[in-house]
């Protein structure tokens, strides 16, 4: 993991002190709300429906056990003893007061954490593959590059007041687990014919009310030019991105209106002027960062496979869905599901965080990851430790065997918390989970990603859910629009609307119905999305609306 240098530490300490002073000025009336809002947002603080909400950055989703314990402490001391892990690898605390937040930022700074730029029209927390450093298919560890981006973007003086929020994601180059196609900039690690490491650069992805997939503007960017190229993109966007209409201000609209070729030319021109300036990454710096991400001290494991030791069906199920291949022989990656029955997707109690921190120390070199699918990951677990780990997880409600399955739902907070919501999302996700409680059947259905957003802002990425659910409001009533066929991986696609919306209580039936059609027509080994791709939406539409022509 990256360890702060003296100046990284100084920066977060100074930032916490600065915010303390800004809050005091707000209370004294020296700053009014219009002036204060952008300042608090740049420290991750929102006014939500019932209280203040703080969004804490977990850069590229990597956490140490010490940091997780601190998050648990903070949620106990200042909140209601739980937190919500998000699709952007952040943690949100929902029940805070403004006067406590400077103290919280100071606490975070003691464990090398912060909330800088976790909101506002600036470069947000950079996200990366949650299996980084453990996945067998990666070309390089994306965290190295994400950390370089994190440092460069933190309090960048030129890009603090962009037209709109700006999100960057980095994938390791194999399977895309970072949803790079729906980010303002998506970076994919690639290797060229000479064996050099670089990036394929995508710009203009984003969801919200006009979902768009990013366009590749450069097939190969040599890695030492990463920052100069990012700076060129940002400078073009800062000047040309629309500021007249908030809904047209994301870079995706600029790319759409100017065309990807024009944008590429503008960026390349700008880059030509700066590519050999001080922004070119010196090898020594890259090495310094790389040293922080050395693999842990893996051991040679000489023990029988756990399948031979443990016959419990629960364990076998869990192993099938929540345990993934690791590049180190004898090791596995483990997904710790935050999607237990009856719990809001992504929520973890302080108690669970403490337990998980201990388990990470015992079984995963003290490392934890946050996935954009709102689960936690133990990245480096010895195969022969899996049964013991599973048993411990079970005890605190963290052993659900549903990673990647239909109940591994991504959901935003929706109208239960969020001021911008049109409808609730958590109760809908809970109702679906309740309906699909038969684990056997879930395993039979296989990988099925359901994503639920409470309004068009699309925080839960519903457009790229295999099944996407969007909460809307009509005449004071909540209703839900359903899409199928979206996906966020290397075959990224935007889902298609199946037809008129449904009431919240109808959604479990809708899901059942879609699944029934799939089970009926699927070919061997085909996922739900593959079936939609092969047959289109019509069989699903026909079945859903068969008895309701007059809807």
């Amino acid at each position: 993991m990256y360890t702060y240098q003296a100046q990284d530490q100084l920066l977060v300490d100074q930032r916490a002190a600065q915010f303390q002073e800004q809050v005091e000025r707000r209370f004294e009336g020296a700053l009014n709300e219009d002036e204060f809002r952008p300042l608090r947002l740049q420290n991750g603080l929102y006014q939500e429906m019932h209280a203040y909400m703080l969004r804490i950055n977990i850069p590229y989703g990597t956490l140490s056990s010490r940091q997780l314990r601190k998050l648990a402490d903070i949620s106990r001391t200042f909140d209601k003893g739980y937190g919500h892990f998000t699709t952007r690898q952040n943690l949100q605390l929902n029940w805070l007061s403004l006067k406590d937040t400077p103290a919280i930022l100071a606490e975070l700074a003691t464990v090398e954490m912060h909330a800088i730029q976790s909101s506002g029209s600036c470069i947000r927390n950079v996200t990366a593959d949650h299996f980084a450093g453990a996945a067998a298919d990666e070309i390089d560890d994306p965290r190295i590059w994400a950390e370089i981006v994190r440092q460069w973007s933190t309090l960048h003086p030129e890009f603090a007041f962009l037209p709109r929020k700006f999100k960057i994601a980095v994938s390791g180059g194999g399977k895309d687990r970072a949803a790079t196609a729906v980010h303002d900039i998506g970076l994919k690690l690639v290797r060229n014919d000479d064996g050099q490491i670089g990036f394929e650069v995508m710009v203009g992805g984003g969801l919200g009310r006009t979902p768009m997939l990013g366009k590749v503007i450069r097939e190969f960017l040599p890695s030492d030019h990463l920052l100069s190229y990012l700076e060129a993109i940002l400078r073009v966007y800062n000047q040309l991105g629309r500021r007249d209409n908030k809904y047209k201000a994301r870079i995706k609209i600029m790319v759409h209106e100017l065309g990807a070729e024009v944008v590429r030319d503008l960026v390349e021109d700008e880059w030509l002027a700066t590519r050999d300036s001080g922004l070119k990454l010196p090898q020594s710096e890259v090495s310094r960062i790389r040293d922080n991400f050395q693999p842990p001290a893996f051991e040679v494991v000489d023990a029988p496979d756990p399948d031979h030791q443990v016959q419990e069906p629960g364990f076998i199920d869990w192993q099938r869905t929540n345990v993934h291949a690791h590049k180190q022989p004898g090791y596995n990656i483990v997904t710790v599901s935050l999607k237990a029955f009856g719990i809001a997707p992504g929520d973890a109690s302080a108690e669970q965080m403490y337990v998980l921190a201990n388990l990470a120390d015992a079984y995963s070199f003290g490392e934890i990851r946050v996935s954009h699918e709102q689960n936690l990951i133990l990245p480096h677990v010895r195969r022969d430790h899996l049964p013991a780990l599973w048993q411990s997880l079970q005890r605190v409600g963290l052993g659900t065997a549903n990673a990647g399955l239909a109940t591994d739902i991504i959901s935003c907070p929706g109208m239960d918390f969020c001021t911008l919501a049109s409808a609730r999302s958590i109760p809908v996700s809970l109702a679906i989970t309740e309906r699909l409680d038969d684990l056997k059947r879930l395993h039979d259905i296989g990988e099925l990603k359901i994503k639920i957003s409470g309004c068009v802002n699309a925080c839960a990425h519903h457009h790229v859910g295999h099944i996407g659910i969007l909460g809307l409001e009509k005449k004071g009533e909540e209703f839900y629009q359903v899409t199928v066929g979206g996906r966020a991986d290397e075959e990224a696609a935007i889902g298609q609307v199946v037809g008129p919306g449904f009431a919240g209580h109808e959604i479990p039936d809708v899901i059942e119905n879609l699944i029934a059609v799939y089970l009926d027509v699927r070919k061997n080994g085909e996922l739900f999305v593959d079936t939609v791709k092969r047959l289109g939406t019509s069989p699903f539409k026909e079945s859903l609306y068969a008895h309701s022509e007059t809807r």
Partner: protein
Amino acid sequence: MPILKHGEIIIDDWQNLADDEVLPEEGLAIVSLARWQTDRDQLINARRPLGLRLTGKVDVSEIAADLDHFDLVAVSFPGIADGRGYSQARLLRQRFGFTGELRATGPLVRDVFAALERVGFDAIEARDQAEAEAWSVAVGRITVRLQSDITAPEMSSFQTAAE
């Protein structure tokens, strides 16, 4: 509104000239880009110190060749959230080598002073006296820089400058 120059509150000698106002006999005048474009020759022939006002919309590369005629360029910030001026300043200073006074016109609050100076502004129009007087405290709040900027353009890496 008070003007800060290198952090000192100064008496402002510059006058903002409206487009229909005649160029006064003496003193320092700031004209709009439109005025400059229509009255270019006349303004040059007056052989007077001139300032140029820019809005966020302007592509500064279009005036790069004219920069020698100006002692001051004023870049406007319609509100704290409009950040185009940061890129304009950086280009004016770094790319086009402007060495005169680069002034951020606001109303601007202390919280952005440090960033403004880092992209090349040496003069800032503060919202009021209290904001202007807070300059030294405000720019001292955060001293760490994790990226190159005007104060360290040739920084050989994105971190070594602070080390």
